[in-house]
């Protein structure tokens, strides 16, 4: 009799345990479901910030590996169009993300990840005494910009137009890293990059602020790419980037809240 009672009690307890477990049936996947590798295509200006984001994300989800492809957003859009295996696309402007969307290669609608502003980058100590956008048009100042199709090149030209300054760049670089390295190596006197890039360059370059009325606010949209190999992990990464922790890492690198 006692054994029967014990068995009945055990069964009741098991039933209780089972029912309380099934009441939490939400759509979020358990941490174990976020595993494997996935590819993030991101604008060059996001390099330092995203590497930190990946470290934090992989610490939260040990079974996951994030692969990065950093390049100018226009190059990334072209690669995705040609069939490159991307799961997430973080662009430095909406134009390039929309190009991918119009070709039918985005999964879902984009979210705004962060914002950024432009800054003039010069050699450490500003030897040529450049004090603003008008100084870029001075004779003898070698200026490099990003190519017009690259977001930072487009934004830079908008700022120059707003300031009424006419500059012919010595080179059109394919991404913001190219502009920075030309200035750091001394092959160019000045370039227009993002404030986050000047911050990341540390002692290798100095920055000169652009007047507020001429500056441009760069907004970074992010979206999942259709046909990616790991949509669950991709979605989780985007959610992480938009969360408080993810946004804090971006702000730490100099990005502005969108």
């Amino acid at each position: 009799m006692r054994r029967l009672a014990l068995l009945a009690a055990a069964l009741v307890c098991a039933a209780c345990g089972a029912s309380s477990g099934s009441s939490g049936a939400t759509a979020t996947p358990s941490p174990g479901a976020i595993r494997g590798t996935f590819n993030v295509f991101a604008a060059t200006s996001l390099t330092a910030a995203f590497k930190d984001e990946a470290t934090a994300f992989m610490a939260k989800h040990p079974g996951v590996t994030v692969n990065f492809n950093f390049a100018g957003s226009s190059d990334l859009a072209t690669q995705i169009d040609q069939g490159a295996p991307a799961d997430v696309f973080a662009s430095a402007d909406a134009t390039n993300l929309n190009k991918v969307g119009q070709a039918g290669n985005l999964d879902g609608s984009p979210a705004t990840l962060a914002a950024n502003k432009l800054e003039i980058v010069v050699a450490p100590g500003n030897p040529k005494h450049i004090n603003g956008l008008p100084d870029l048009a001075r004779t003898g100042v070698v200026v490099v910009l990003c190519a017009p199709s690259v977001p930072c090149g487009n934004y830079a030209r908008q700022a120059l137009t707003k300031a009424g300054v006419d500059v012919i760049p010595r080179s059109d670089e394919q991404n913001v890293g190219g502009v920075l390295s030309k200035v750091e190596s001394g092959d160019a006197d000045a370039g227009i990059v993002y404030t986050t890039d000047v911050m990341a360059a540390g002692g290798k370059a100095s920055g000169v602020a652009i007047a507020d009325q001429d500056n441009v606010l760069a907004t970074y949209p992010i979206a999942k790419v259709k046909g990616g190999s790991n949509p669950i992990a991709a979605q989780a990464f985007i959610a992480f980037l938009l969360s408080a922790q993810g946004q804090a890492i971006l702000e730490h690198h100099g990005f502005i809240k969108p």
Partner: protein
């Protein structure tokens, strides 16, 4: 000479070893070796029969065939990459079919990098082997045939051993070309660490983020090429 001297003088010799041992550099080296050796193997498999056809047969349109096989040698590599995209890209002639039927996606993959390298390096092998075949005394082959050997046996036991030095020299030239290939690879295969980022592509990317590492990897490529050229000189001279 001056550009090479510049590389050697400006190299950060202190941090060179640490740079070479970083995962990205090792990945790039591994990929470069895997892709260039695979491209060479593929070139031998395709190139030796092609060279034999050009050297031993006469048929209408032969000069056009020779022009087409030599074309990748004179074509700017990036144009080669564009051509490959138009053929095998997602929207290319064969690319869509390949993906829908076999699930094979060549652009931006290691296989794509190997294809790009084969495309540019194959002519080097074909030209060398064809020259070797033309210099083989055909009377030896004819003698073998009159002694009763079948065409495949003649090829295997008479022609091939005679032309082996040419195949070897052609393979080494082909491998060097494949190792240094940049334009077609970056256009067709993209620049992904671990999958398509061979040494030349890694140098290109590092120029923007870590110029010191770029110099170290460049020196590595120069060293590899020098070793190949120096060791090949005697053999090459003996052929001509």
């Amino acid at each position: 000479m001056l550009p090479l001297a510049g590389l050697v003088v400006r190299a950060p010799w202190g941090s060179a070893l640490t740079q070479l041992r970083s995962p990205d550099a090792l990945d790039a080296l591994r990929l470069s070796l895997v892709c260039s050796l695979s491209a060479t193997a593929l070139s031998i498999a395709l190139g030796v029969p092609l060279a034999w056809v050009q050297a031993r047969l006469t048929f209408p349109g032969q000069s056009l065939l020779r022009a087409l096989t030599t074309l990748p040698m004179v074509l700017p590599p990036v144009v080669g990459g564009v051509a490959l995209l138009l053929a095998f890209g997602r929207r290319g002639l064969l690319g869509g079919v390949l993906f829908d039927t076999f699930g094979v996606r060549l652009p931006f993959s290691t296989a794509g990098a190997i294809l790009a390298e084969t495309f540019v390096a194959l002519p080097f092998l074909v030209i060398t082997v064809e020259a070797g075949l033309r210099s083989v005394d055909v009377r030896l082959e004819e003698a073998a045939r009159t002694l009763g050997a079948r065409p495949w046996t003649v090829f295997r036991r008479v022609t091939l051993p005679l032309v082996a030095p040419s195949i070897f020299a052609g393979a080494v030239l082909c491998w060097s070309r494949a190792l240094g290939e940049f334009g077609a690879t970056i256009t067709f295969a993209g620049n992904f660490p671990g999958q398509t980022q061979t040494l030349p592509l890694a140098v290109y990317l590092l120029l923007e983020t870590n110029p010191d590492a770029a110099v170290v990897l460049s020196l590595l490529l120069v060293a590899v090429s020098l070793v190949v050229l120096v060791s090949l000189r005697d053999r090459y001279l003996r052929l001509t």
